[in-house]
Assembly symmetry: D3
Homo-oligomer: 338 residues x 6
């Protein structure tokens, strides 16, 4: 997608130009992984025009493999972003309908060849939300990946505005089938509720804030795992919105036995919070690959990575593993490196 944003905190009606960055859920994850040195390909469908070409070139610049992208369709999806401050939230105007990816159909991508020598496949709930064809192609991919023994992860990412082509029942059916193939599931209570009708149970309301939310999430995780037995880990982020300029940030991971929690970060001067969840996912995949037996470390990496994302302009998280590890190690002092 092409993101177009007035500079600084200008409102749309004040803008005489838009800053242009290219991004999107899955591509943001891909850029994160490339930055950490993980070989990664981004598979999508782009329009065969200059704008599609620009999007591909930015991926390529970051070291993401672009040879498996297919070309066709009408347009690159666009979203307009107005950056808020304090009590004025940021605002997104979507213009992503009729994009090349929304017009994808099963068979357009040769998944068996794409997945050759691949160990991990990640998809997000955005893709099946945009069209039946995209949902079908996603399912096609997930089934083949499963068949080829590839680890599958998802970010459920419920977005009410996107699910317009079908009714609720059909939506749940699609998401449930897709999720049933996943090993790693990122999602919060709202995702679980909207997609699968799962609610937290038996909460102790005497607990406060993040603890309460962690508790609630544990209940959700258990129900999720019951419903999707292939899932080995269920994870969520815990964002606290003090204001548009100041958020708190933490994460929780349930591995079927234990609920791992992280420290809570104070992000007191947010530069850009869009892509926060994607940067978490990118960090989590890297963490799980790097610390295969240490979920706490993997989760800590994910949270530290996405904490840093809030200081980076644009959708993608342009930090190195070393930078994340420094923060993970407890150094949040932001001293000058010289």
């Amino acid at each position: 997608m092409l993101r177009l944003a007035p500079k600084e905190h200008l409102r749309f009606s004040q803008a005489t130009n838009f800053e242009a960055v290219y991004g999107g859920g899955e591509s943001n994850v891909a850029v994160s992984l490339a930055n950490y040195g993980v070989p990664v390909d981004f598979v999508t469908r782009l329009p065969k025009n200059d704008i599609g070409q620009c999007a591909m070139m930015e991926m390529r610049k970051r070291g993401v493999g672009v040879d498996k992208i297919v070309y066709g369709g009408e347009r690159l999806g666009i979203y307009f972003l107005e950056t808020g401050a304090v009590s004025r939230g940021s605002k997104v105007v979507y213009d992503r309908a009729h994009s090349a990816i929304s017009q994808i159909e099963p068979g357009m991508i040769d998944w068996r060849s794409v997945f050759k020598d691949v160990a991990w496949f990640h998809w997000t709930g955005i893709t099946p939300a945009i069209s039946q064809g995209a949902a079908d192609a996603c399912l096609e991919a997930v089934k083949i990946a499963d068949d080829m023994g590839i680890t599958i992860s998802t970010d459920l990412n419920y977005r009410a505005k996107l699910w317009t082509y079908c009714d609720e029942a059909h939506r749940e059916k699609i998401m449930a089938e897709l999720t049933s193939y996943c090993d790693i599931v990122l999602g919060n209570e709202e995702d679980a509720h909207k997609h699968f009708g799962i609610h937290p149970e038996g909460l102790d309301v005497h607990k406060d804030g993040d603890n309460l939310r962690a508790e609630a999430f544990l209940s959700v995780c258990k129900q999720m795992m019951e419903r999707f037995p292939k899932a080995k880990k269920v994870i969520t982020t815990l964002r606290g919105s003090v204001s548009a300029s100041h958020n708190t940030w933490a994460g929780v991971l349930y591995d079927g036995e234990k609920l791992h929690k992280t420290t809570q970060y104070q992000i007191t001067h947010i530069v850009d919070r869009v892509g926060g969840g994607d940067s978490f996912m990118g960090g989590l995949i890297y963490g799980l690959l790097k610390y295969p037996k240490d979920d706490q470390n993997a989760l800590d990496f994910a949270v530290a990575a996405s904490c840093l994302k809030h200081t980076i302009k644009g959708d993608a998280n342009l930090v190195t593993a070393a930078e994340v590890e420094k923060l993970m190690g407890g150094d949040a002092s932001g001293r000058v490196a010289r």
Copy 2:
């Protein structure tokens, strides 16, 4: 429409931001007229979001009436513009499909109320090209305008890339019916050929350049008037592309009796040539209103106005009638006004 252009002469793949201006064929004509002091309304359909709102506000800023605009639909059409130089032509990437205006249907606009106390209605060949609904709504408007005795003008504006919803025969049928209601027709040989199969006849090939083209155009005019007896004037612009940075510019008007020609301008340092035709149309309508019995003057105004447009950034022609008249009067010296 929203136009997004990399600054200066940057290519798309070099751009990290886009300059944003709002424009479009009919709205450019409207802005021209508002600048000349003519009361004018822009009638269109805009999406009910911030981007549609911005487009409306820019019209309002220029003094164009915006109260007759209707709201609805998915998106504002977009086009991306890369500005060329010398032998590298400018490049346009359209992203205007599925726009609010393309989803218009007859009945959405209450034309009788829109046309109350109105003397002139202008439409362009862009509108019927974008969808059957738009063509139908345009025809609805033209018929009511005709019925209410309003002067009707058109800019035929053939754009091959846009006419995708129907075949050639259907296209000719649509355009012929629409044109049959027009009093004033702006179009060149290509428009006449593509829309109506009209070719210039019996050309004296010993004549050169603009003279030859004027001759050819006369033949076209006569055939046009035969086919569309309501048309009282047929007009074309004569652009010579020396390079992307240097064009020549003139105009020809046939009033059924005489072929009026203008002087040829050398536009040696083009700032922005997009909207050149629209600025000509804006100037022509103003000219015909101001000099009702002097077609030469009206045409001279139109050519001088559009000549100045090439020095203005953006789609619309931001000049006053006084500025046009100064150039019309022969002062092309570009001296500092202080």
Copy 3:
């Protein structure tokens, strides 16, 4: 006025360009009201040159009526703004002397015709401060408005630097006469003291911060109402300057019987605090119109509106009523709207 400001936090001597916005006390109020959907006209005097024209066009862009503006005089007033941070305050250099509005005289504006079908007239203490002519024209307007039964509001807005054409006694006389016609009076202790020699009485110094200031203000209100019996409501804002980047913000309204107070907002990351008072006034007028029998609601709207203003670049408050109401309703979380 034209406001010229170096970008971001640059000092004047670092700037190679200035960001240009058009604004001013009364016009900021007008833009607020237009944004809330209230039909509003801005009545002023602008110079008949391109810069005056630009100011008018920006008003028109926002939907403010501009047909009652008169043209003439030498120049548009200018002020230069340097935006501070933390312990460095913002800095304003005025260059507003000899402006078109300062050279206005009674008779230049046909107030009876301006006020036709008008329900509310708002003026600020800036206008009588700039010249005897402006004071006279203001008085002319206020008298006619009063005579025509129009609600009159004022923002006393004492600015020592502006009152240069007369002595203190004359200033008090002018302001007292003008204020005597007002129904709604916005002003703080300093305004009351400087303009009318009114001091708070009998304060309980054991109360802290905002409470103490509210108390003090109550005493001021009572004296004000005694002196200006037509005034039905006296209002003030309570700004606490933690630093140039962080202010607290609240408001107090006395209706002759009860002192209404609002919650105190923490504006922790100020984008632009200029125009804060004007946005309060704009919100207050709207609030009083919308909630005619609920002063608390009206005041809450005013404070929430002006709280949001601090996140908007430029003098005017570019927010919708819905956005204000969301904050009024307690949602200061600044979450992304998508």
Copy 4:
């Protein structure tokens, strides 16, 4: 003065920021001389605020002496510049009334001390045009300079819009007295005509363009020298406005015996023509100092210098003597220096 200009070729109403440069007739000459390595002081009156300070700092940056500047008054003069192209001329909106320099009075500057060890004094016709006080101070300076045996030069620079404080007869009286003290007089036919009622005589109209103008100028020179016997050289520039983007440029100098002419330059891609005359004057003073017995060389330097000015953004001519000499030597090829 502070010059505020929309970027590139934008019209005023399109600008959301203005590029800011500081300049003015005499200061431009001073900067030229400093660039050539001539010790020079700029004597003026600036307002005691940040904007006046910025103007001084830019002079100091260029190496112009600023210690003799006096401070006081209300404001720094401003002018707004819109940069034209091709047939659209640039546009200037003055906002220089009530500037600090316009409120100068004799006695404010201690000229005897300013002129200590000074060899040359330059003034322009702009200064006496802005107010009686400025004219008086200028006369005061000129008389003292004359008394101290300093060479005096002037650029007559007639500007109709500025001479508003007195009638024509008074204007001629002022200018005649001031000019009577000058050794070097730069001015064209219009200056001679408007200021002194001098017309060219007995022209041979069979001569073309620049030759005709040179001829006409010779007649003017002779009359000027008769009227102002102290003048040793009368000089003019010959600008041909092909368009706002393309000018021709040459110069003529009469030394009482011979009319020296220069080659004519084609300035085909003007970057900024404001300050062209000032850069000519700066080059001329340097030329006359460097080539005291070779007026042709001095004139050639002046024309080449001002030719280069048209490629420099801003009012002042930021070129070195070596760069001018390269062009003077015939190398107009504009090859890359690496």
Copy 5:
């Protein structure tokens, strides 16, 4: 290299920021080839810091292979570019000493592995000019490429300012040995003269301009081929500097039998002429690969490609083969592509 340039035509002393592009002789050729769809690797040495990383990423963005780059050394070379206009030439300030590439030594790059499956190797005279180590590494590469049967091309590119580490005799020895391995030699009379002491012979001075220069070049070619018998083609560009804004452009190729010439292009509005020679070389290599038996076509492609380069900002030529072929086919009209 990192190129830092003030925006538009600003002089260095006016700049408060520099536009940053990454480029350099060989990398510009590599980008050209990647744009034409030729698989290409850029082999160099970059410093292991963020700036070196940025340079690599820009190459990668354009599709140039970056896996063979080695890392080490102190810094990335920089040059500052001031863009001239009309009679003011552009100006380059080099800051490339001590760059990572200048500190390269033979053995640092494993050329046999680099050249695996490679068909063509290109180097320029810039590389041996910067240090003995760079010259040695270049010779090492050339010898191995020759041994592996790879086609070798060079752009002689004499730059007096760079050859500082050795005397003239040593320089000639280095260049002669390097050139002796080349199949394709690009260079002009100055290169031939400075590097090898070769002068044109027996010129017919009655011929004009480009014809005369082509004649002179033929004489040079013959001497070059005699001295470097492996060279199969000698080529030069013919640039005519009308001004910094307007150049003429053509090319000549001698294949040992025939002197091929191209049409002469008028580049009337230069956007950026830096990298013109590199874009010619990139076009020539592509042309020779695509039209292996048609040197005229290859040369025409090279000239058209580099003609377009003058309309592109930055060092590299960001055009497609289709765009070059359109110009080659005679369409220099610069019409809008929509």
Copy 6:
């Protein structure tokens, strides 16, 4: 030095231009002093090219004397700055090797003439760190200054990355000799430890934060004074890094008898922290000159000055003495000055 920084918080790889400011340890101190009205000269060696010229002009703009600068050498040192936020620290990439100043040698500057009528000489530990020649020239200066009875101050400024030309022992020898001539020594525990092997002794670890650090520093001061008996005052800054966006700031001065401490400032919204130490030094020199008998006042001035620096973009502290005194006086409210 030239500092090149991506705008706002962009990472290097996102930047398409760099904001350019000129600065450096000693020059930042010089600019501070010039801003406070102290006559000051900056003595350095700059390359004789446009970039060196620009650096000089910026000094001159600020009122720093530049006549004692010598010219020669290869290049101006550069550093690239990426501005962090929250937990992402700013990042500096040095490119200062081989700068003109690093190639200085004793004898290049005529110190006796430079020091004529001079009362104070300041040098920093950066200078001897960059090359043996620079260390020698610095020692030459210090000895002559001492001989001429000039007050000498230093900022020890240990930078591990710079000391590359010699081993540790040699470094200590150089710094010890240089420091032995100083009257005023600014440095922290790390400087004392790295340069002279001095450690804090006998700390009471029950004290917290700044108190503990002050205690530790006292021990260091005493040892320093024992080792360098000429030193009359030893000073340090106390920075607390809450995050890259929020620091605390205070200072401590030991005069041989008493340890003076300042209040601690909260710098909650840092604009630019580079140059913080230099601005402290600039403030301290001014403070010691202005309050010769009141070290507490001098120190308070230094801390308030450098506190304000954190709100200023660029290396140098562009504030007036009045602005510092306002903050010193306790007004940190950052109210608008109008």
